[in-house]
Symmetry: C2
Subunit: 313 residues, 2 copies
């Protein structure tokens, strides 16, 4: 009998250029393998759930992709190659520093060359140098999605490609993935008209893809999932429930309001608080630096254990 997740993919249309994108990912992974570089797949941003097949309206999740985009910069610094699977239009590493800036406000011209204003020049040069270094090293592969559908297909494709990377691969699943969707055969083709009121929308549960990820697609990888809640009391119980259900390695749990200064790293056996004090925040430091440092340490230990087991065996 086909499992729930197989049924989901059977019913859902493949994203455009799916095979080509998987091929790019495969080439990237092969190159990193030759360089003996650890790889992480970072998922980032929210997924849309269309309400109509020619989509005018959709359900979305609150997420601008800060966690994923910021963490990617620190993961690159730690020597990882990154497949950055992100919501189209959400924050991106390096580029994110200019989100609230109008490029045109940074520039001046004397009628000839156009250059960055003196007061911004140091900050921009510093970023530019880091960005150019990453571009030249070729350690960042960006892959974009919009809908839930596209995201899940691309996650599967990436995970299947990373299977041979075994315990050297990490999944850092920071995307805010919808729990609910409308199956294609229950969706109207055209824009919903406003005559029938109240409008009733009926949503089905999305199969949890962590399950095939850890059992079939990439069973030897180090898998970190993220949990965002608004109710403090539910946070740790829900993280534990997820760990028990999927047997993956780590849940980074956070509350919507405090997510930039407080997270809990939850495993089956332990809870570790990672937080920022006001001084660190006022200096512009980011909690993702600490999260990544801790996650990378744990991934290294995981790799050593697995290698020791292999040797012992």
């Amino acid at each position: 009998m086909a499992s729930e997740w197989q049924c989901f993919f059977d019913e859902s249309k493949k994203p455009e250029h799916y095979e080509r994108t998987v091929t790019y990912m495969k080439e990237f992974v092969d190159k990193c393998m030759r360089q003996d570089r650890p790889i992480v797949l970072v998922s980032s941003g929210g997924t849309t759930v269309p309400l109509e097949s020619r989509t005018v309206r959709f359900i979305d999740n609150f997420s601008v992709g800060t966690r994923g985009a910021t963490s990617t910069e620190y993961l690159l610094q730690q020597g990882y190659a990154v497949i950055f699977l992100h919501r189209r239009g959400s924050l991106e590493p390096f580029k994110r520093h200019f989100t609230h800036t109008n490029l045109l406000d940074l520039l001046v011209t004397d009628g000839g060359t156009v250059h960055v204003k003196d007061e911004d020049s140091d900050r921009v040069r510093h970023l530019l140098e880091r960005y150019v270094a990453v571009t030249e090293a070729g350690t960042l592969l960006s892959v974009a999605f919009t809908s839930l559908n596209e995201y899940l297909y691309l996650l599967m494709g990436a995970a299947q490609v990373l299977k041979t990377y075994r315990h050297q691969a990490m999944f850092y699943l920071a995307a805010a993935v919808s729990d609910f969707y409308i199956p294609a055969n229950e969706m109207p083709e055209h824009k919903i008209q406003s005559d029938g009121v109240p409008l009733q929308i009926s949503l089905q549960l999305v199969p949890k893809m962590l399950q095939p990820l850890v059992t079939e697609w990439s069973p030897d990888a180090y898998v970190v999932s993220f949990k965002l809640e608004t109710d403090q009391d539910l946070l740790i119980p829900k993280a534990r429930k997820a760990l028990k259900r999927y047997s993956h390695q780590l849940v980074v749990a956070n509350i919507l309001e405090t997510r930039k200064k407080y997270v809990v790293m939850v495993t089956q056996e332990s809870e570790q608080i990672v937080k920022m004090d006001d001084e660190e925040l006022s200096r512009g430091q980011e909690i993702e630096a600490k999260i990544v440092e801790e996650v990378v340490k744990r991934h290294r230990m995981f790799i050593e254990q697995r290698q020791a087991e292999t040797v012992g065996f």
Copy 2:
């Protein structure tokens, strides 16, 4: 008895800093009045409809704000002052030209100054000069919203401020406003949990704010609304129905797939097609240039008529 739209505002929370924003708009309008400059309020981008009061999930409309942001540039060129009421994060005039560009890909540094690459320099300088001219003239006021709620409050505030501007004011309502919402008292506080499946969402109809806009808030203004459909057969009938219902001046009707090359300007008495041929599109010309030219011509005629009526009276 309170009307539907009054009930909506009574039930809904005012946006943060609402009074302050209205004051800014008032100051802007007063300044433009002293300069005897026509004003247009352009609304742009989609509105969100929260599914939870501490919002994690929301319903959104497909719209990146191309029509509004692009039209704003052409309206500024035509000598209008513009209140640009736009979805936070959607396209903005001038800045929009860099949406698909990573700023860092445009720049080079020799370790000292940071400047725009030679190959992009002409294009960026041209834009920068137009942007600086508008900034110095002070003819563009940007006001941002995210939710339906915020949008409707700010539209009301702007319209009330523009009332004294009478027929010299134009409303160019290109925003994709949700037809449906969940009243605050029917909304759960916390993130919806995924235990109850299928999840049923029940949405109520949003009162049409064109009605109080044309009868109470700004009854003498020139009002242009936009209609986006996916079904060609519904387009003109729905535009006519709206004109009949609200007695405003113009509907710009378009189909999702062809909206960048074909629109119909519909009034009670007439239909006028505005379209782009392939050559114009390949030269990078934009249909908004033609739409704005036509709308401005009609607004000028409207002003002349009203002034003639006043003199006659």
